[in-house]
């Protein structure tokens, strides 16, 4: 039994030693490296898929070991949890010691000042200035009077504050992971596309394990305006979106709602197309086209499933490129200076009701027939197809992609970091030192000084304390 206890005690001592802390710190740094070298799911799922394609043998093995989600991998967690255990094991006893040191008066003067790194004979004890020091006067039975003075308690206070704040940060991060959520969506301008905050309305979302879909705060958003300005070379200078008629937000200036923030991530154009079938029945779509390059050459589809009397074999689909400033097969500028739409027409079964949600940005061409060559349409142009039906390019609307997020851990993390930033300089620049003064019964006096941390300036301070010019103390 005592053997087990001894073993446990020994292990604990090992775990809380500085060497172990150092080793764990290094392990953590090394373990983070694959997280930057290999693609990570949390950063880009497409890149992970790409890695699987290029390394079909290696990727599944790496995946099983968690290398595509390093920062959520059990071995990564094991390292930081051990580190934090070691941290607690280190901080708690030091906290107790420090509290004791704060309560205890400065220790009695050593018997022989010559053993101290600094000592001097004091000519005139009246000049010793202990202002700002924590001090205690002791009168010994033989008539000797000693003064013990200590300074620099803030160093250890800062150090403990700093290390504890790391725990606060860890807690904040954990709360964010459990109770945070995010959702992304593409939002086209106009009241038809307005939406309210419910999960079905999102293109993609992630809820923390403790979040119930019903917990999401209620709000509705309608994109009522979007402005962008670009340089002549196409580099964006500025964008701003406006929702619900009066609330503007842009990159770096999210929309802060009650319980969530909305971030502007991207933007593009959605051509408005009107298809009139041979029977004269028309249908209008607004289809967001996704940018392929910085000049907003965009790709997309427009589908008309109800065309031609809802005959499934005669549905209509169009696929192609939108060029805000028409160039040779690509856009020359992201602004709509000379907008053009290059479309290919398809007829047949669009396959929209198969159940599996098809991408709205690509046509499933399995049961579709292409009708002739691609056609270039300018704004307002009408394209008459072989059966007399018409496609009209009416114009475009703006769309934006937004991310809606809530992280309840944020204020905790921020508070932790603030404490850390307070504690760190205190800890790094603080200096603990002690000075003793002894007045001997024969009238002589001496002083000794001990810097308890690396402190090259102590000698000067010691001189200043012990040989304070009289003129300054008489005031």
């Amino acid at each position: 039994m005592s053997g087990v206890l001894a073993f446990l005690r020994n292990s604990w001592r090992q775990l809380t030693s500085m060497r172990t802390a150092l080793t764990l710190l290094f392990l953590l740094a090394v373990a983070a490296i694959p997280g930057s070298v290999l693609p990570q799911r949390s950063v880009s799922a497409e890149n992970v898929a790409g890695y699987f394609r290029v390394h079909p043998d290696l990727a599944p093995v790496l995946d099983r070991l968690g290398f595509f989600e390093v920062f959520a991998a059990p071995w990564f967690a094991a390292i930081y949890l051990l580190l934090f255990t070691s941290l607690v094991g280190c901080v708690v006893p030091r906290l107790a010691d420090h509290v004791r040191a704060l309560l205890r008066p400065p220790p009695a003067a050593p018997a022989r000042f010559e053993r101290l790194p600094f000592h001097t004979v004091v000519e005139d004890p009246e000049t010793v200035n202990f202002k700002g020091w924590r001090k205690l006067k002791r009168e010994l039975p033989d008539g000797t009077v000693t003064v013990s003075a200590e300074k620099g308690y803030l160093k250890e206070t800062g150090n403990l504050l700093f290390h504890s704040s790391l725990l606060v940060i860890l807690v904040g991060v954990g709360i964010g992971a459990q109770w945070g959520w995010h959702a992304n969506r593409l939002l086209v301008q106009g009241p038809e596309q307005a939406f309210c905050n419910s999960l079905q309305q999102f293109d993609e979302y992630g809820l923390g394990p403790m979040v119930d879909p019903g917990d999401l705060p209620p709000f509705c958003l309608e994109l009522t305006g979007f402005e962008a300005s670009f340089l002549d070379n196409g580099i964006p200078k500025w964008f701003e979106a406006e929702v619900n008629g009066d609330r503007k937000f842009r990159v770096n200036h999210p929309l802060r709602l009650d319980g969530a923030s909305v971030y502007l991530l991207g933007h593009g154009y959605a051509p408005i197309l009107k298809y009139t079938d041979a029977a004269g029945k028309s249908q209008t779509t607004v289809s967001p086209f996704l940018p392929l390059d910085g000049m907003l050459t965009s790709e997309g589809v427009a589908a008309f499933p109800d065309a031609n009397g809802s005959d499934k074999a005669k549905q209509m689909g169009f696929e192609g490129l939108y060029l805000p400033t028409a160039g040779m097969g690509r856009s020359n500028h992201p602004e709509e200076r000379d907008p053009a739409l290059m479309l290919m027409a398809y007829r047949g079964d669009l396959g929209l009701d198969v159940g599996i949600s098809e991408s709205v940005y690509q046509l499933n061409k399995e049961k579709l027939t292409r009708l002739g060559d691609a056609k270039m349409l300018k704004k307002g142009d009408t394209w008459t197809l072989d059966d007399g039906s018409k496609l009209e390019f009416l114009g475009t609307k703006q769309w934006i992609t937004i991310s809606i997020r809530h992280d309840p851990g944020e204020p905790i993390v921020l508070a932790g970091v603030a404490l850390l930033l307070v504690g760190l300089p205190m800890s790094l620049y603080g200096k603990r030192r002690r000075v003793w003064l002894r007045l001997n019964p024969d009238g002589t006096a001496e002083a000794g000084g001990l810097p308890r941390t690396d402190y090259p300036g102590f000698e000067d301070e010691f001189k200043k304390v012990t040989q304070w010019p009289r003129s300054q103390t008489t005031s």
Binding site: M18, R19, A29, S36, L231, P254, Y263, V417, L424, P456
Partner: protein, 321 residues
């Protein structure tokens, strides 16, 4: 103004650093008398009669020789003067670039590297003025500056453009200013650690590779303390800079930390430097081991500055190589 900055001033800057480097090398090669003499005297005072044989050898030919204050400028002073001129040209390069761009000169990698290195020179000159005994360290500092400004001019230079909207934030200004300052301090700290490693290695009898140069440097303890001071000064600024980056990331991307490659390497550097401070504070760990950790720390900083922008794709890629 742009042409002046991007063609003329940057070239003068790189060449001036090169000249300063050559002068420092010349100081090591020919001008040694003055400072070896000083170092030897200092060491005799410090070590006393029982000093290691190495010291006696270094100062051997000087024992008994009078060291007169020399009226002439030493090679070292000239090298330092050249560094001041290089720093002035460097400052002019950055300022004219900022004026031409009508914004802070931190819009892309080229500008960022120029700013970090400029701060590095300023930090170094401040150290060299306050602590004359470490001036030989200038060789390392200037060597790093030649490499970094040279790479900036030849590989990274980009024409002036406006800030992309994502960079248009005051947190960006705070973030870059603090990260650049911390990097500059780490740079000088790294140079001091390197010098300490060579000097202490030499003192321990190592003679391979670069160690023989160690004999030319200031007292090992002095540079080691300088290195610690630089790192201890830089670490909270670095911490603050990373925090400002996280606050900015929250405003721009909706999350304060997303393990983007740049963030990952900032984390790695932070951990390694925390390791350095721990190692330095642990008596059972040698100062040399701590100095090696500082060298690794600087390697991770370089990895973040160059490697991440070049090798990895991430949100910070708009920095543009």
């Amino acid at each position: 103004m742009a042409a002046l900055s991007d063609n003329v001033l940057i070239t003068i800057t790189v060449l001036a650093y090169l000249v300063a480097m050559l002068l420092h090398s010349a100081d090591y090669a020919f001008g040694r008398q003055s400072h070896i003499a000083k170092a030897a005297v200092r060491e005799r005072e410090l070590v006393g009669a029982g000093g290691p044989p190495v010291v006696e050898k270094a100062g051997g030919f000087l024992i008994g020789q009078e060291i007169k204050p020399r009226a002439k400028l030493s090679m070292l002073q000239i090298a330092l003067g050249a560094t001041v001129l290089a720093g002035a040209a460097h400052l002019a390069t950055v300022v004219t670039r900022a004026l031409a761009a009508e914004r802070m000169p931190w819009g892309n990698m080229y500008e960022f590297v120029l700013t970090v290195t400029l701060l590095g020179t300023l930090v170094w000159l401040a150290v060299a003025i306050v602590k004359p005994e470490v001036r030989h360290l200038g060789l390392f500092v200037v060597l790093v500056q030649v490499l970094l400004t040279g790479v900036a001019q030849i590989v990274l230079q980009k024409p002036i453009g406006p800030l992309v909207p994502a960079l248009d934030s005051y947190w960006f200004v705070i973030h870059v200013a603090s990260v650049a300052t911390a990097s500059a301090l780490f740079l000088v700290g790294f140079a001091a650690s390197l010098m300490y490693l060579l000097r202490s290695g030499y003192d321990k009898g190592k003679r391979g590779g670069l160690y023989p140069y160690g004999r030319l440097f200031a007292n090992a303890e002095t540079v080691e303390r300088l290195s610690f001071r630089m790192h201890a000064f830089a670490f909270p600024i670095w911490t603050f800079g990373v925090t400002a980056g996280a606050i900015w990331a929250e405003a721009a991307w909706g999350r304060y930390w997303g393990w983007d490659p740049k963030e990952t390497w900032a984390f790695i550097s932070w951990i390694v430097y925390a390791g350095y401070l721990h190692a330095r504070a642990t008596p059972s760990i040698s100062r040399r081991a701590a100095a090696w950790i500082a060298v690794i720390g600087w390697a991770t900083m370089l990895m973040n500055l160059f490697g991440v922008n070049i090798f990895f794709e991430g949100l910070h890629s708009y920095g543009g190589v």
